[in-house]
Amino acid sequence: MIVDDQPEGPAGRVGTSSARHARRGGGLPGFVARRLLQALAAGIGASVVVWALLPLAPGDPAERVLRSRGVAEPTQEEIQATRAALGLDRPLIEQYGSWLGRAVRGDFSESYQTRKPVFGEIADRLPATLLLAVTATLLAIAVAVPAALIAAAFHGRWPDGLLRGFSLLGAGVPAFLLGLLVLYLVVLRLGLGQVLADGKLSQVWLPAAVLAFARAAEWSRLLRAGLLDALSSGYAAVATARGAGRARVLVVHALPNASIPFLTAVGVGFGALVGGAPIIETVFSWPGVGNYVVTAINSRDMPVIQTFTALAAIVYVTSSVVVDVAVAALHPPSRQRT
């Protein structure tokens, strides 16, 4: 039975009814506009942080650039000339402005190492990273939703316990460790898959499954908690009292309501998958952005690090906007101005 059996509930929301007088909630377009504006503000703030990575780095930037070009002992004149060429002698605000102007046009300057535009280098590798992140997210959702539904339907019985064990395991085994173990067991011992991946769809399954494991564990647990919350709610009890069966209450009423925190977690999780690409791509030698960035970090290739940070921020902010809009589309009360 799925109702809240508290013998005498407190008088729920006494007194709030007048506060919620009949007012038309904000429309979806208005919400989207407000949310986009918010995202833009966050993006501008983030761009300052991303830009500041370079001037904040220890050492003289001009000297760093020269060294990376192979000038071992740069002279004072050389440094001055580079300074002027890079615009480092101008005020900081001007430097930021010109950096942002170029960044918006896709010009993230050149890699110290390869001397090629960073934007192109990253754009070449981005599809592989996105393929991995999207596949992992979809796999995790495909596991998490049925698992949570079953656990909530059999709350307190063995399927629920099984999910608890799974989620504990998922939280305790970090993706890169699981990746290493899978690489050893599946690839080296069983001879399935390949040690060096080529970034194609046919090889995405192994790394995606590894990434999906922890996500599925976390998300299924979150969704299960949301489902149990919804099942103990007033509307679930009323639907039951109207004659709805357990399955209907679970799927028609509880699941959409429980999806709201779930969707938010998926959005954040997707952003984090792209952000966490360096580690898992190194484990699987996946030819994506992450792998490229790790090489760059080891050789202190600043523009590449900076561009990756900007990219991760863009993905992060975008996915949270997409999720918020999806939630607002699903859940009319959340469209209202807060």
Partner: protein
């Protein structure tokens, strides 16, 4: 769809006999309640929180949890919701039977209309749930008619709005419309006006009254139900301590608890309200005697040792 036999000749509509309910952990929510409701009658169960009145409502709907212990019997229009222990020939209704009975045999109105409505569904979907729960698809006009019948103007437009956009009183009337969708012989209303402004409370109770069904009304206030209920059962610590016609109890309460309840509510011509001191006993306490004895000025040794039975509408040794 199997037929649900709701012939009107089963009188009374609701019969509760010797109902006991214990929650896991040993809380005795209900300790022996008998109640009959005839067709077209509105009967109110009155009491403080913790007296077991919501549990009675849940029991009637067969919506107590699986670990809740029950005994006694409940019959709604001749259908058994709960049977006496050991009554093998008349077993407890299966979950399937209960589901068929809920909504079509028993309508339910919850306390807070906002939490009673799925926030993701517009009001029309909420009313439609009455049909959809039984795998039926109502015509749009059926839904709008049921809303307009209960006094909601411009139903086709208003019903497309979401619960949070409606006022509490309006929304509670929409849930009454949904509860009444199949014209069930019995409506169970669990404090339907507690979450509402007092101005609309009377309208909502009027809506319930005019629904044509027998109504089991759960409330914490005697004066609130005064103008609406035909009969009142005053509940204390899981037992009915006094039962009778509303007007009689309002005019001359016989049980000390009813009198105290009445004195605690402000009424014209009765001076300032006098709050009832003390706390009701905890549901896990199983002391013998009248549960009200510790708060009663007239309590004697007998009250503390023997539980008074409901006789002639009142359970008190001194009446």
């Amino acid at each position: 769809m199997a037929q649900l036999d709701l012939a009107p000749d089963h009188s009374p509509v609701l019969r509760i006999e010797d109902l006991h309910v214990t929650y896991p952990g040993g809380a005795w929510a209900v300790r022996g309640i008998d109640l009959d409701i005839r067709a077209d009658e509105m009967v109110a169960i009155i009491g403080e929180s913790g007296c077991g009145k919501t549990t009675v409502a849940r029991s009637v709907l067969g919506m107590l949890g699986p670990r809740v212990g029950t005994s006694g019997s409940i019959t709604v229009s001749g259908h058994r919701v709960l049977a006496h222990l050991g009554e093998r020939d008349r077993p407890k209704a299966s979950e399937r039977d209960l589901r068929r009975l809920r909504g079509r045999g028993i309508g339910y109105v919850a306390q807070d209309p906002y939490s009673a409505c799925n926030p993701l569904h517009c009001v029309r979907r909420h009313v439609e749930e009455a049909w959809r729960a039984h795998r039926m698809r109502p015509k749009r006009h059926e839904v709008y008619d049921s809303l307009e019948r209960i006094g909601i103007a411009n139903a086709p437009d208003a019903a497309e709005q979401y619960p949070h956009e409606w006022s509490g009183g309006m929304l509670q009337r929409a849930t009454i419309a949904a509860a009444n969708a199949h014209a069930p012989p019995l409506l169970v209303a669990d404090e339907p006006t507690t979450a509402l402004d007092s101005a609309v409370a009377s309208t909502v109770l009027g809506n319930l009254r005019s629904s044509g069904a027998a109504v089991l009304l759960i409330s914490h206030s005697l004066s609130l139900v005064a103008g609406h209920a035909d009969r009142v059962a005053v509940c204390y610590a899981g037992r009915v301590v006094e039962e009778g016609a509303t007007a009689e109890i309002l005019d001359a309460p016989r049980h000390p608890y009813s009198a105290a309840l009445l004195a605690a509510t402000p009424r014209r011509g009765h001076g300032l309200p006098q709050p009832l001191p003390g706390q009701p006993p905890h549901p896990s306490e199983k002391a013998p005697g009248c549960a009200f004895a510790s708060r009663c000025r007239e309590a004697t040794e007998e009250c503390r040792n023997t539980t008074p039975q409901l006789r002639d509408g009142v359970a008190c040794f001194h009446r």
